[in-house]
Symmetry: C2
Subunit: 230 residues, 2 copies
DNA sequence: GATAGTTTCATACATATGTTTGAAATGCAA
DNA sequence: TTGCATTTCAAACATATGTATGAAACTATC
């Protein structure tokens, strides 16, 4: 009967500390102090530090992915098996943005932890993220159904840009606030989702020319690359 | 006469190793071995490991920033003091994308190093990146001149999304190739720049309603924003 | 060629940090 | 209780890694 008490305490303490101070600045000794457990408990319950981090990350990732797929499924049912491209993009970026920028700041170490995981890039998390491709393929498939005949390449670029806007906004949240001097309201999650979705849909549905060849590329040689060494 | 030879050798070796194996996996001892210099040379010439990394990063950053401003200036001169929004965005994302995705020219180590710096997030680099806000303000100012009357908030979001697409594409280059099974050509830098610029401009110039209030956010929770006209 | 400043070198230092260990404590079943 | 399995604990372990040191080698100016 694994009382599980120590285990949970470690997970909670670790997530909190990592969320607050980042992976680079938190040692196992910090974690066990915060959790009031013995140092050896981490290796006993998780095997290694990396496996602890991995467990934290997969737990939260699974949550997000499940929400994504739920929204996608709901959208497809609503549309009789074929979701609109807009709803698909919303299902793709909505859960992540809500999860990381959500207003429940106070208690939600989970959100802050996921932001950290997005900013810092530590080996165990990188390994897990690499498996995410399979998950994204489901969205690519849905997009293909929503936009039959559209070139696959365009579809992947749209997917890429949608994730780009969502993740970058999360990653660079503080910088955007500073740059815009508070004009960009990072707490208005619904508004942000609308923005990202709108631009993504535009990128995907714009000019059919784009599906044949890349958008109007000027023959001009770009800029001046005065490349002088320092 | 500071022969500078050792110093340069360290810089070159460090950039190569960091580019290949990342910051987390490369020690000073690896670097001095690669450079065929003594271990103490790093601290003698740079003061500390972090200052070495910082110097590597600022060198490349300065290059990129100078290219950006050069392009911006050229665009403004071309337009008689007022550059088009498209040219501004091109000046913003072009140099970075060319620098990081460019074809492997003379030792692509610089490019690969900058990709690493974008993926991993190590303290000395983070510190430098934080100063980048001032640089971005110059682009915000140019955009304001190009789109007078437009709400500042929209402008910052557009800037944010443009950087998002550029940086995310760089960061997740490998994943995008894998996801698209090679359909997305990450070597076609000019094409990528065109894509990013096109979407950015769309995001910025779309529906004037967006300049007054956030992009047509329906009262309905998951309402659809049909915004197809570019 | 002597002297002063600069650079290189081998080596030592310090110590942070994940991991292991073996014993003690605890819990559970018979 | 007894005995076995699980868990906790203090301490040790290992060692990777950035940094400091002091002497030697080198360079240049006089």
């Amino acid at each position: 009967m694994p009382s599980d008490q120590t285990r949970s305490a470690i997970l909670a303490a670790a997530e909190r500390l990592y969320a607050d101070r980042g992976f680079g600045d938190v040692t196992l000794r910090d974690i066990v102090a915060e959790a009031n457990v013995n140092l050896a408990a981490v290796n006993y319950h998780f095997g290694s530090k990396d496996e602890l981090i991995a467990e934290l990350f997969v737990t939260r990732s699974i949550q997000t992915n499940r929400e994504r797929l739920n929204e996608l499924k709901a959208a497809e049912e609503k549309g009789g098996g074929r979701a609109s491209i807009e709803d698909i993009m919303r299902a793709l970026v909505g859960p992540t943005l809500r999860g990381c920028l959500g207003p429940d700041r106070e208690g939600s170490t989970a959100a802050r932890f996921m932001i950290r995981a997005s900013i810092e890039s530590v080996p165990p998390i990188r390994r897990i993220k690499n498996r995410e491709v399979d998950h994204l393929r489901k969205f690519a498939a849905a997009m293909r159904r929503a936009m039959p005949g559209r070139d696959d390449t365009e579809l992947y670029w749209g997917l890429n840009f949608a994730l780009a806007m969502a993740h970058h906004t999360i990653r660079e949240k503080e910088r955007l606030i500073r740059l815009s001097e508070g004009k960009c309201d990072l707490d208005d999650v619904a508004g942000i989702i609308d923005r990202v979705v709108a631009v993504s849909v535009m990128a995907l549905t714009t000019g059919d020319a784009a599906s044949k060849s890349p958008p109007a590329r000027p023959a001009v040689v770009h800029g001046r690359l005065t490349r002088q060494d320092l």
